[in-house]
């Protein structure tokens, strides 16, 4: 799997973009598009992310930040320019293996970056494991990808579902909350986060009164909120994201529960949607590997440059995309741009110590960040970092044979 491929040093597509190739090839002209043109070829980066549908925003943020880092480096990583091949994965797992095949088999990219949706990621992981293609995941948190399905060529610059959920157990318990109810959608990410919270919380002595699940992606919470009110726990752990998160936080407050039973969860509950959540979210405690008010030099520079280039505030997804580019840069620098020397690329990435806007993190043996998880409190439209909930937290990577 780590066998060195031939260096693609002198190869270059004469068609500028993947887009043009896709169109022509699809129309039936199967152009043998490989020509040797003097100068050194570009490193081919496949971006497989959602650009349509519910997660389009996240796909854009990741792409923007990835390109921002490359631009900061003068457009070159390890001395070589980059060429992008872009596929919209639509967050549709049914097309996942096919889409990633297009990048790997047809476009022959050197590295694939993606994606947001966990189900799609697992399809990509399947292909990456079979073909040995280098894969960097800038978001999707499916525990399996760096757990039982871990592989030398699969890296992640974001988080496992286990990570941001786990410290919340400690936070709640130390506040003296002895009983909890959990609520999330009935799907893999929700279940993994609840299990992680439960693990941390019950180990300390906390008691889970009930685990509540809502069919995905339904947003009618009233029945379960009523149940929470009747169970009267000391605290509620919840994971929702996007539109569901906004509605849940608002419904929770409107049901009068907010001031009586503290609500918390992984940061996705409040990230990127605070403007929509308004007063209902004020004071909520969440845990995540990024937040507002991290006063480091690199974070300030990152935020400034991102805002200048894209006219919007960078979020946690942007940070993960930025770090995906940092990780790739590290691998390429170690081999002076010769990405064909795969063993050494992977070795460099394994030993990565990334100075990230989120804080410095290192790569675990299972290829997932060992990182600080912050405790944040909602103030206005900010998730203000008020402390570190867990220093250098590593995913247990259960089932991974590389650890």
């Amino acid at each position: 799997m780590t066998a060195d491929n031939k260096p693609s040093g002198s190869r270059r597509d004469f068609l500028k973009t993947a887009a043009a190739t896709a169109g022509l090839a699809a129309a039936g002209t199967f152009v043998p598009a490989r020509f040797a043109i003097g100068q050194q070829a570009k490193v081919k980066v496949g971006l497989m992310l959602p650009y349509t549908g519910t997660f389009a925003q996240l796909g854009d943020a990741i792409t923007n930040a990835f390109k921002l880092y490359v631009a900061e480096k003068g457009g070159k990583l390890g001395g070589r320019e980059l060429e992008y091949y872009v596929v919209d994965d639509e967050s549709n797992p049914a097309k996942a293996t096919d889409n990633v095949n297009r990048l790997i088999t047809r476009d022959k990219v050197d590295v694939v970056v993606g994606t947001v949706h966990s189900g799609v990621l697992l399809g990509m992981v399947k292909v990456a494991r079979e073909t040995g293609a280098l894969l960097i995941c800038p978001n999707a948190g499916a525990d399996e990808a760096t757990g039982p399905l871990c592989a030398p060529n699969i890296f992640r610059t974001s988080f496992t579902n286990w990570q941001p959920a786990h410290p919340m157990g400690k936070v709640f318990y130390e506040k003296g909350y002895k009983t909890a109810v959990t609520i999330t959608w009935k799907y893999a990410a929700g279940e993994q986060m609840v299990n992680s919270f439960k693990e941390g919380y019950t180990k300390l002595g906390g008691k889970i009164l009930k685990e509540l699940y809502l069919p995905f992606p339904q947003v009618e919470f009233q029945a379960l909120l009523t149940e929470i009110a009747s169970l009267k726990p000391d605290c509620v752990f919840s994971f929702f994201a996007g539109g569901g998160a906004v509605k849940f936080v608002k419904d929770y407050a409107a049901a009068g529960l907010k001031d009586k039973i503290p609500l918390g969860g992984p940061g996705f509950l409040t990230d990127g949607t605070l403007e929509a959540q308004g007063a209902a979210a004020q004071g909520l405690l969440t845990t995540l590997h990024y937040g507002d008010g991290i006063e480091t030099e690199i974070n300030k520079r990152f935020q400034f440059n991102y805002a200048k280039t894209y006219r919007s505030r960078p979020d946690v997804y942007a940070v993960q995309g930025y770090d995906a580019a940092q990780l790739l840069a590290l691998g390429l620098e170690a081999v002076k741009g010769d990405i064909g020397a795969r063993k050494n690329v992977i070795k460099a990435m394994e030993g990565a110590k990334i100075v990230s806007p989120r804080g410095t993190w290192t790569m675990s043996k299972a290829h997932n960040p060992i990182q600080d998880i912050y405790l944040r409190r909602v103030e206005g439209v900010e998730n203000k970092v008020i402390g570190v909930a867990w220093k250098a937290l590593a995913d247990p990577a259960r089932g991974c044979k590389m650890t």
Binding site: A25, A26, N92, A94, T105, R106, L122, G123, K186, P215
Partner: protein, 321 residues
Amino acid sequence: MPASRALTIALFVGLVALALFPLFGDKYYIQLLTKIMIMAIFAMSLDLLVGYTGLVSLGHAAFFGLAGYVLAMMAPQDAAASLWITLPAALGGAALAALIIGFLVLRTSGIYFIMVTLAFAQMLFFFIHDSKYFGGSDGAYVYFRPTAALTGVQLFDLENFNHFYYVVLALMAGVYVLLQVILRSPFGAVIVGIRTNEHRMRSLGYPTFRYKLVCFVIGGTVAGLAGYFNAAQFGFVNPELLSWHQSGIALMMVLLGGMGTLFGPVLGAFAMILLEQLFQGLTEHWLLVMGGFIIAVVLFLPHGLYGLAAQLGRKREAEND
């Protein structure tokens, strides 16, 4: 030249072209064509219901996805499952599901039928999505493609993408012939009769419900065949395979190619998947283009590409005369 002969020639040329393709084609395009042919089988199975029996099903993907799941559940993690065990099981599973669902949904007709098939597919979707046993929303892997070895003899190796391609090509041709044979049999005549006038067929003494049910089961089973090979090709099944969007795409293939022709859905599968790739390359908002395209086809191409070709052919004939 009579239309039927033109069609035969076109079919033959197409088949030869497909058979020769792996000799020249790049690996990716061989795999792409394999996928397209699998979708063509799926679309043909739907055409049997929509184009011939007049049953517009918006839940056909349920059988497609279910068969894939049967394979995923039967395949061990560390070895290849036998094709000769898993394929009949997958087809049987799809057929059984089609029998049960068909028994319920065929009590309705028209708009009701559309909505009810949609709702039942949705029920199966949640059944799999919410169940840990099936891998939930994360889906499940088929680690190795099924092996075709039987008593030590191995005719073909599905792990080889060229072999896989030819197997699927043979199946596509086989399904085409099978469905043609069925439709030209007395059974087929009754089916088409039901579509034109169910009351009349019933008053002639045909138990139309049973005929429709048989048709529904055949359609579901063939969809299962496509779903099985889809799962085998990609090695990954997900609840999304059963979703109504998947059914919608298949309906679009049927219409785009030309419904009620069997040949049309095959054409539609090719056109649809290639167009999707083309549109994706044009703009980030390619779904807008796709939506517009679908609307345009409905408005201006009601008989699909096949109808268009036939029309052009007739025109030409008229000019030649």
